[in-house]
């Protein structure tokens, strides 16, 4: 009679001892990326694969999930589910998602394949490999989910081409390139911990509850379907940090430095999400500030209290991020509003109801600093002078967000904030103390950044005229500018039998 094995033991037997201990080739040649960052791993066996998922179980669960997901995507398309949205302006959130986020999923797929090959312990290898293939799932299911929208709306048509070139997309791209160009442990700290663990809720919740509140069943279904993958990824992010820090005392300082840097880099990427959440969703489930308070201040505060045992502390500059929470979305959306003639989404002045909602959610800041500006823009629009900024914005050398932030932590929310560093005789501008600190720590790296505005001025983006640049981005004229009267607005109204006379409705 064969003895019974419990799941844990069985998993251990199926995978145990597979890690490679080379003898014909030197270990540092087989795993060349494992030591150059200065991280010291004494015993990879201390890494326990937190998922204990066999290949068989993985195939089975994932196939069941995909079967359900694709059934809903198909029925959504067949029944023209997009007509049940609250409003077509909601699609602008999806445009930012597929242009800005989906390509990152692909980058994560490749990055985790790198870790699966470069880490020498099999627990870590297999966990990273699972994440790699999950990320492939995410980019592909996102493409399939949004494919139907692409047939009916503007701006979703060429996300991967855009991601490599467009000015506002260099914010997410440069963050990911930052992590990818570093070594495997820094990549893991950045993507698995700073992004997936600390900040992922601030990305996922706004998009997915935003979808739910605005009638987008396809995206919501994708979100739910990805959630069990995401929870595995979050577990991995936390495990790896504890593992690295426990392995050797020298690791702590290195890892804390990476947490500080990548927290800030990832947070800056989320600035785009804050604008989407507060301004682009016709029906917003919660404000950026509320989400920040719950998911960062409360949850991460508790997390770092727990991580204190390992000697880790809250990321540097987190106070500044929290101080900015009442301003961030407004400052970024103003920027997007001014430059949306050069974006593959449309913007508009918030409606009266929206402004009242913003006043309620931002009692300390909206009426005081931001409502008056919207009223001014509304007045200009009324006079037929909808405001677009004719220039090109200066970008921060590190986060690549246009220099739109103010001296909030210095108590001067009306003063523009910028910092200056010199390196090799050149001047480099950054948006805050945080980005300046990151630049000054690795000036060689950040001086390489492909800054879209510089590139346009140097003639590397299709030509001298804005129209040349937009062509280079693969934008169509109807993709950009003001939402009211846009192609999406017009076809939405037509599909809902509304009057298309914009003059009258304005």
């Amino acid at each position: 009679m064969a003895k019974k094995l419990n799941m844990r033991k069985r998993y251990e037997l199926l995978t145990r001892g597979l890690g490679w201990e080379p003898t014909y080739q030197p270990k540092e040649k087989v795993f060349p990326q494992e030591s150059y960052e200065g991280i010291k791993i004494v015993d990879w066996d201390k890494w326990e694969d937190p998922f204990r998922l066999t290949a068989e179980a993985y195939w089975k669960y994932q196939a069941e999930k995909d079967k359900k997901l694709y059934a809903i995507i198909d029925s959504f398309a067949q029944n023209n589910g997009h007509l049940n949205l609250t409003n077509a302006s909601y699609i602008n959130a999806l445009k930012i998602f597929i242009q800005g986020v989906s390509p990152l999923e692909y980058g994560a797929h490749r990055g985790f394949a790198n870790l699966a090959r470069q880490f020498s312990g099999e627990g870590a290898q297999i966990a990273c490999q699972m994440q790699s293939i999950d990320e492939l799932r995410h980019v592909q299911t996102q493409i399939h989910t949004l494919s139907h929208y692409n047939k009916h709306f503007t701006g979703l048509h060429d996300p991967f081409h855009m991601h490599d070139r467009v000015w506002y997309l260099s914010v997410p791209k440069s963050y990911f390139d930052d992590a990818r160009s570093a070594g495997p442990f820094e990549f893991m700290t950045s993507i698995s911990f700073a992004f997936e663990y600390i900040l992922t809720n601030l990305l996922f919740v706004p998009f997915m509850s935003g979808a739910a509140h605005n009638g987008d069943m396809a995206t919501v279904t994708f979100g739910f379907s990805a959630q069990s993958d995401e929870s595995r990824h979050m577990t991995l992010g936390l495990e790896i940090i504890k593992f690295i820090v426990e392995q050797h005392e020298d690791n702590l300082e290195i890892v804390q430095g990476w947490i500080d840097k990548h927290f800030w880099r990832a947070y800056r990427v989320l600035g785009l999400v804050s604008a989407m959440q507060d301004y682009m969703l016709p029906d917003s489930p919660m404000s950026w500030k509320e989400a920040w308070d719950i998911y960062f201040v409360d949850n991460c505060g508790a997390l770092f209290k727990d991580l204190g045992r390992y000697g880790l502390r809250m990321p540097k500059f987190h106070e500044q991020a929290t101080a900015e929470a009442e301003h961030l979305s407004h400052q970024i959306y103003f920027t997007l509003y001014q430059f949306s003639h050069a974006a593959a989404f449309q913007t508009e002045i918030p409606s009266k109801e929206k402004m009242d909602w913003l006043s309620e959610k931002y009692p300390n800041t909206f009426d005081k600093y931001y409502r008056p500006r919207w009223e001014m823009y509304a007045e200009m629009e009324k006079q037929g002078k909808r405001y677009f900024n004719a220039g090109l914005p200066q970008l921060c050398q590190v986060c690549q967000v246009p220099m739109c932030f103010t001296e909030i932590s210095k108590g001067k929310p009306l003063d523009l904030s910028y910092r200056l560093s010199e390196y090799n005789g050149d001047k480099f501008h950054t948006c805050t103390d945080a980005c300046k600190a990151i630049f000054d720590h690795e000036p060689e790296k950040y001086s390489h950044a492909w800054l879209p505005v510089h590139q346009i001025f140097q003639g590397n983006c299709g030509g001298e005229e804005i129209s040349d640049v937009l062509k280079f981005y693969h934008f169509n004229p109807e993709d950009s500018g003001e939402y009211k009267g846009s192609a999406d607005d017009i076809s939405w109204r037509a599909a809902h039998g509304e009057n298309n006379d914009i003059e009258e409705s304005a």
Binding site: A2, G17, W20, Y106, R110, A116, I133, K151, D164, R165
Partner: protein
């Protein structure tokens, strides 16, 4: 009887994503495969140079000496994107699960002579480690390869190898009635027994190759092209003829999987060799180099697996492999 359900017809703005339309035509509807694999990989305007590859970009065509005008001219004849892949494997998994359950329930391994059981353990157990190494090589291709078609394929192909190493482990556990002794001995053999050392040595030499396409050839085409027909076809047949026909059921995944693999490796070689004489020469030289090396490395395993004629059986596998590759246009 057909019923007409009236639905609302809505005219679409466009048929396709731009990146798919540029490849298949903007008015032609795209398949899920096409949407999921074409041109996802960044190609330009990288922000920072990688710290782990001096002088290279984050994604770089120069990671191989193979030159393609378009790295998307090869497509997978199986059309595996993630979802199609997991659905196909889940189906196979279900049937493998039944096979294992049946073998266990009816004590089907009891009737296998002890001597044969020992042979099965001796030959199959160390292959877990071969599969694991093959997975590492495919993760490497996914990491350093070029173009989302080939790299996603390598990712899925590598995942399969994890699955296969687990199926082998399950077979050994079934024979050993869930004792771990066989698995442990397999690891010792893999590390120390002389019959496995040439293969382990070759594998480590493949790990350190600079050119990811050479890894593709050495691992997925040559090494697998020798081991799979030799072990999962010929050896399992021999085991079956000696009273171990249950092993056919328990290795069904592996034989089906290899038959499936041939479809895309043939297509890959055909497309890449056809691109240029230089590619063809390079591929051919890699095939010659690795066939020679791996044939020697697999020989002691062939000799141990068959009472007699192991060498001929390996020779047969080799000729078949080379004939197949010549058919795809290689000059060998």
């Amino acid at each position: 009887m057909s019923v007409h359900i009236s639905t609302k017809e809505i005219k679409t703005k466009r048929t396709n994503y731009g990146y798919v339309g540029r490849r298949i035509g903007h008015d032609k509807p795209a398949s899920r495969y096409q949407e999921a694999v074409y041109d996802l990989q960044p190609t330009t305007n990288f922000h920072y140079p990688p710290t782990w590859a001096k002088g290279k970009e984050l994604y770089d065509v120069r990671n191989t000496s193979i030159v393609m005008e378009d790295w998307y001219s090869f497509t997978d004849p199986r059309q595996y994107h993630y979802s199609a892949y997991v659905m196909a494997r889940a189906k196979q998994q279900e049937s493998m699960d039944n096979n294992f359950k049946m073998a266990e329930k009816h004590n089907m391994l009891l009737s296998i002579p002890d001597e044969l059981k020992e042979s099965i353990k001796k030959i199959l157990t160390p292959l877990r480690h071969v599969e694991y190494g093959a997975n590492m090589n495919n993760q490497d291709i996914c990491d350093r390869g070029y173009g989302s078609i080939i790299t996603s394929l390598a990712s899925l192909h590598g995942f399969d190898r994890i699955g296969i190493s687990q199926y082998i482990s399950k077979i050994i556990l079934l024979i050993d009635e869930n004792e771990s002794v066989g698995l442990e001995q397999g690891r010792i053999d893999w590390l120390d027994a002389s019959m496995w050392q040439p293969l382990r040595h070759a594998m480590e030499d493949i790990f350190v190759l600079d050119d990811w396409f050479e890894i593709m050839v050495a691992q997925n085409i040559v090494m697998d092209g020798l081991i799979y027909p030799l072990i999962f076809d010929q050896y399992i047949q021999e085991v079956s003829s000696k009273g171990g026909n249950t092993l056919i059921l328990l290795t069904q995944f592996m034989s089906d999987w290899y038959a499936e693999t041939i479809r895309w490796t043939n297509q890959l070689i055909k497309v890449v060799a056809k691109e240029s004489d230089a590619n063809n020469e390079l591929l051919s030289s890699w095939v010659i180099k690795w066939t020679e090396r791996l044939n020697k490395a697999v020989l002691p395993i062939a000799q141990a697996a068959f009472t007699d004629g192991g060498e001929d059986k390996l020779e047969e596998a080799k000729s078949e492999l080379l004939a197949r590759l010549v058919k795809q246009g290689l000059k060998i």
